[in-house]
């Protein structure tokens, strides 16, 4: 059954719960410990109220007291809950508007890609306005070594993972596909340094892919944001602009996944 959501006005919310969440939100990588007084000042609440809320948060493991300073830190429950969200791919669905914007602006389909079982898989796609033949299918796998969207993830994996892939017999899709492990290694190092990857004609002739990495709350590169399509849609002079826009988009998506730039 579908029902209209309440108009979410302040009066309907439980104020104590909102305050408790606001207490948790005071914590940042630069502010990992807080005392009752400090919290009370920051939120403009009385110390007795804050004390009561903090005790309840502590009871449930959301805060933990440092016995040496008597101040509070984020507790285990917060760590565990993040672990549950991480395994969710729907979180990326919130990134759809970002994909739409990119796809419309550059007339190339925009994708979010992840690496699974040493292949790259297309999780989410926005087509944009340009009619273009697709070489990607949502939920389908492609090889990592010949796609910018794959290389933008692979470049940030550990050496054993990289070596496991590049020392496999690699398929030569076009005369431009790089299959030599040493050459690939050099390319991967370049991608890691640049924090973007561009591949042209390496997977299919006449196709280009431009991709940048996406990071999650632990700093790990977990996916890539890529524009993939007909090479003719885009001029070389635009590459810089595309990469810069992709990086902005990836930054926003990374923040949705809890990533903070220190």
């Amino acid at each position: 059954m579908f029902y209209l959501k309440y108009s979410l006005n302040e009066s309907h919310f439980v104020i104590s719960v909102k305050r408790a969440i606001q207490i948790l939100r005071l914590y940042t990588p630069n502010r990992i410990e807080l005392g009752i007084k400090e919290i009370a000042n920051l939120l403009d609440l009385s110390t007795s109220t804050v004390h009561r809320y903090v005790k309840e948060l502590e009871q449930e493991g959301f805060l933990i007291q440092n016995p040496f300073t008597k101040q509070y830190r984020l507790g285990f429950s917060v760590i565990s809950l993040g672990g549950i969200i991480q395994s969710h791919q729907e979180i990326y669905e919130e990134a759809n508007p970002i994909l739409e914007n990119l796809a419309n602006r550059f007339h190339l389909p925009a994708h979010i890609c992840v690496m699974e079982n040493n292949r790259v898989i297309y999780l989410l796609r926005a087509m944009g306005d340009a009619p273009t033949k697709l070489i990607t299918k949502r939920g389908r796998f492609n090889d990592v070594h010949c796609t910018a969207e794959g290389l933008a993830i692979l470049a940030f994996k550990s050496n054993p993972v990289i070596e496991d892939i590049i020392y496999q017999p690699l398929r030569e899709y076009t005369p431009y596909t790089i299959t030599d492990p040493q050459e690939l290694k050099t390319l991967i190092h370049q991608v890691r340094y640049d924090r973007f990857s561009i591949t042209q004609d390496m997977f299919a002739l006449g196709y280009i892919s431009l991709a940048v990495p996406i990071q999650n709350y632990s700093g790990e590169v977990v996916s890539s944001l890529a524009l993939i399509g007909d090479t003719n849609q885009i001029k070389e002079i635009q590459y810089e602009e595309v990469i810069s826009e992709l990086k902005n988009g990836a930054k926003e998506i990374s923040m949705m996944l809890g990533y903070y730039e220190d």
Partner: protein, 262 residues
């Protein structure tokens, strides 16, 4: 113990905690059942949590899941363990040598929580990503820590009969105490299919300067792959755990870690 009904904050935190990897999406009835809160109260709490981005409601089917605002908190919570960044080389050593996934875990009451990992170059399973909580008595990482807690505390912590997950799970307190004695003597723990069939984890404790166990390091993978090299892997594991213990002795971090290892 208080007998008053739970406060709104406690109820709201209980709602957050009823989500898990196995149940990442819940209906209003599920939530009301799990938390023992009336549907109308739960609904109001959910809307409050949603207004702060801690809960997300799927528009299609009206189910709820945890919101992405929690992820940035998780990032902050994990990053307060500044020593974790320095654990990377130890985990990398272990994974490079074994080609299997390795972890650092902490103990919270009866659960282990994985807070840092290095992925195997082989296919990565989702069994223990960052933030995952597993029962300590079923896992190598948990057993390695439990073994260095005194017997009486263990008896107080666990009931006589323990829940079983596979036919290999330790099922009684008595059996657990026997197993912990062995682990204490040999200095490492093995869980062979005790939590997930066909998966083995080998854990070794990490101590602080007061010889108190504060964390563990684990290597885990499919039984058939690991058993062939079991002795070599145990040796490598103990070597890294000793190195970490030595490393921590030179730091003041153990003070903080001790708070987290209640």
């Amino acid at each position: 113990m208080t007998r008053t009904p739970n406060s709104s904050i406690t109820n709201a935190l209980h709602i957050l905690k009823c989500f898990s990897i196995d149940h990442p999406e819940l209906s209003l009835s599920d939530i009301a059942n799990y938390t023992d809160i009336s549907k109308s109260t739960a609904c109001r709490l959910l809307q409050t949590l949603e207004s702060e981005g801690f809960i997300h409601q799927n528009a299609n089917d009206n189910t709820y899941r945890l919101g992405s605002a929690l992820l940035s908190l998780t990032h902050t919570a994990i990053n307060q363990f500044t020593f974790l960044k320095e654990m990377t080389p130890f985990l990398k050593n272990l994974t490079n040598y074994t080609k299997e996934t390795s972890y650092i875990a902490l103990l919270e009451h009866k659960d282990v929580i994985y807070i840092k990992k290095e992925d195997s170059p082989f296919r990565v399973q989702m069994l223990s990503h960052i933030g995952r909580r597993n029962p300590a008595y079923c896992t190598g990482s948990g057993l390695a820590m439990l073994a260095f807690i005194d017997e009486q505390t263990i008896s107080d912590m666990f009931p006589q009969q323990l829940p079983t997950y596979t036919k290999h799970t330790i099922s009684t307190l008595e059996e657990l105490q026997e197993e912990l004695k062995v682990i204490r003597k040999q200095g490492y723990a093995i869980s062979k299919g005790q939590y997930t069939e066909n998966i083995i984890s080998i854990g070794a404790p990490i101590f602080n300067t007061k010889q108190k166990v504060i964390a563990s390091i684990t290597v885990t993978g499919p039984i058939n792959r690991i058993m062939i090299n079991l002795h070599k892997f145990i040796e490598a594991l103990i070597q890294e755990s000793d190195k970490i213990t030595n490393f921590i002795e030179r730091k003041e971090e153990d003070v903080l870690l001790e708070i987290f290892t209640k």
